[in-house]
Symmetry: C2
DNA sequence: CTGTTAGCGCGTTCAC
DNA sequence: GTGAACGCGCTAACAG
């Protein structure tokens, strides 16, 4: 691989100083047309590309943000990442994505790595609500915005959905269709969003006088396999649930999978409602009823606010905390209980 | 935000020189136990993290690779990215992902940006087969491996599936089920992989004496909407196809969507076979018959080979070119023609 | 308008 | 074993 050409090489070729090259690179005003032309020509001829690493070092800015997600394989995260990356690219920011697979130590590792790489800010989706690290970053005024997640005490900037309400309207929808035996597939309550949904679930049950039944609750790790099996077994049992409220569309698909393998018809035999509204849910072959997370809005806002923190350092009144309204989207996986 | 602590700060605190700090950071042998302890203590106390940007500049290595994908919203790319990121993390490499939305100018932009960021190498999925840029990089010996794609003339390192064969066995499967009216949903043939699948499609038709019918072919841009509408219209027509061979599972889902909105039953009224075997295809609620791209293998190999190129600079015999065998996975969206 | 000079925070000789 | 000094390629004053 041929060795790189530097701004200094360009300078020599154009017969100017290296700082002049830097100036044309950065579009400084008041450069004589002639020299600018010469420099541009030399750049073109030598195929020069500026070394962003050196620039970052000198400028103490990397024009790069970090994005930490729980699982890129989950379309909710992938699609969110897509909009963030799109917006970022428009604004000339690059993004480094880290996958935590929902594990706390990976979160810490990712943060450390991103800090080492001197990213200008970080968007984090899926954090343990007890995370000390997040709080530290917040207190150190390092630009971080939490995406659909938050921590205990709310010492953080975040954009979230009203998760309690989302769960509430989901369950309410099922109840109004006549369901009383409602399974709830969630995940570890160390995630504040899930904890809030737990509350919404219980609240809806309570309001309609439906007893809370631990047997119908899944609150362990996110695992397609485990959730599939949990649902499968539940569907084998006598007094099986007539409906499932699932905390992500991806896992709702696992329930549909289990139901299909049971030869159960949806929604005739079982109703399923998800959460997220990932793209595929609107596919009419699937038609998953769900609660929209408004990922477009949430993701755009997250990036926007992060850049505000990055660029307007200090002048921003922290914390930035936005709560969006959930929306019930009725499709074909929910129907009357029989 | 409190200003960063540098190796120099650590040095002062420990009463040693900055180069000594550097030495312990990099685990040099022959450091007196005492001074090592002191330095480590100072690092701990000050909460020092090394500046990877400065390190990269000095070392001329970033321990970062670029990954350019067509569309993170397509699970095939997201899932591939997932395995690449996982392996990379294990090997202490970071990855910067770029989304091109399948547009050539974005490819060029992404490459330029990654080169600017001094990545050590790049994995590229989805390239225009006429791309000059890729060839240039190859000739300049810059570490690049193409992921399930290649360019005209094969002047590149790549890991691909035998796409022609994949298409061939897909169509053969349909023919053997009695289908003769087989629609083919593809994309721009500027992508070599698609071009090869075109050949496979035609070959299978030819072998069974089925005439090629342009009316049944979609070869424009990847667009859920457009493909959906194309399929929808086709399904309205008299002499409508009894089956679809679709060049990606994601788009196969679009066909299922269109069929569902036509109240057509799958596979009774229409058969659909995809390509990729994304995770959701194995969901029994969907059960998409497809051709496996072996993304786990392909992605692992791509990363492995890239690191070989990066770390074994020069000593590797180029080009690295691997062709994997496709595999037909029969599920429930294909059945006998009626 | 442009050149000179001094860092940015590390890794890396080369002496001692 | 360890420190001093230089360089990676660029931006940012400061002169002129």
């Amino acid at each position: 691989m041929k060795s790189r050409v530097s701004a200094y090489d360009v300078a020599r070729k154009a017969g100017v100083s290296q700082s002049t090259v830097s100036r044309v690179l950065n579009n400084f005003p008041h450069i004589k047309e002639g020299t600018k032309k010469k420099v541009l020509a030399a750049i073109e001829e030598l195929g020069f590309t500026r070394d962003e690493i050196a620039r970052s070092l000198a400028e103490k800015k990397t024009r790069t943000i970090g994005l930490i997600i729980g699982d890129i394989t989950n379309p909710f995260f992938a699609e969110s990442a897509g909009v963030i990356m799109g917006k970022a690219a428009e604004l000339e920011y690059d993004v480094i994505i880290c996958n935590t697979n929902h594990q706390d130590d990976n979160l810490e590792k990712s943060i450390k790595m991103l800090i080492g790489k001197r990213v200008d800010g970080i968007i984090i989706a899926a954090v343990n609500r007890y995370s000390k690290k997040i709080k530290e970053l917040y207190e150190a005024q390092f630009p971080v915005v939490l995406y659909n997640s938050s921590i205990e005490g709310n010492h953080a900037n975040f954009i979230v959905l009203d998760n309690e309400k989302g769960a509430y309207i989901a369950v309410k929808h099922l109840v109004e269709l006549g369901h009383r035996n409602i399974a709830y597939i969630s995940g570890p309550s160390k995630f504040l969003t899930l904890h809030q949904r737990d509350i919404g679930y219980k609240k809806a049950l309570g309001e309609y006088g439906i007893p809370y039944n631990q047997r119908l609750i899944y609150d362990r790790e996110f695992s397609y396999r485990e959730i599939y099996q949990f649902a499968y077994k539940l569907l084998c049992s006598k007094d099986k649930p007539t409906s499932f409220f699932v905390t992500s569309d991806q896992m709702a698909l696992a329930i549909l999978d289990a139901a299909a393998n049971h030869n159960l018809e949806v929604p005739k035999d079982v109703s399923v409602i998800g959460f997220d509204d990932i793209n595929i849910s609107s596919n009419q072959y699937i038609g998953l009823t769900t609660i929209s997370q408004k990922k477009e809005t949430m993701a755009s806002l997250a990036l926007e606010k992060l850049l505000l923190l990055i660029e307007g350092k200090g002048s921003i009144s922290m914390p930035i905390q936005v709560v969006l309204e959930p929306k019930l989207i009725i499709r074909k996986t929910t129907g009357r209980a029989n």
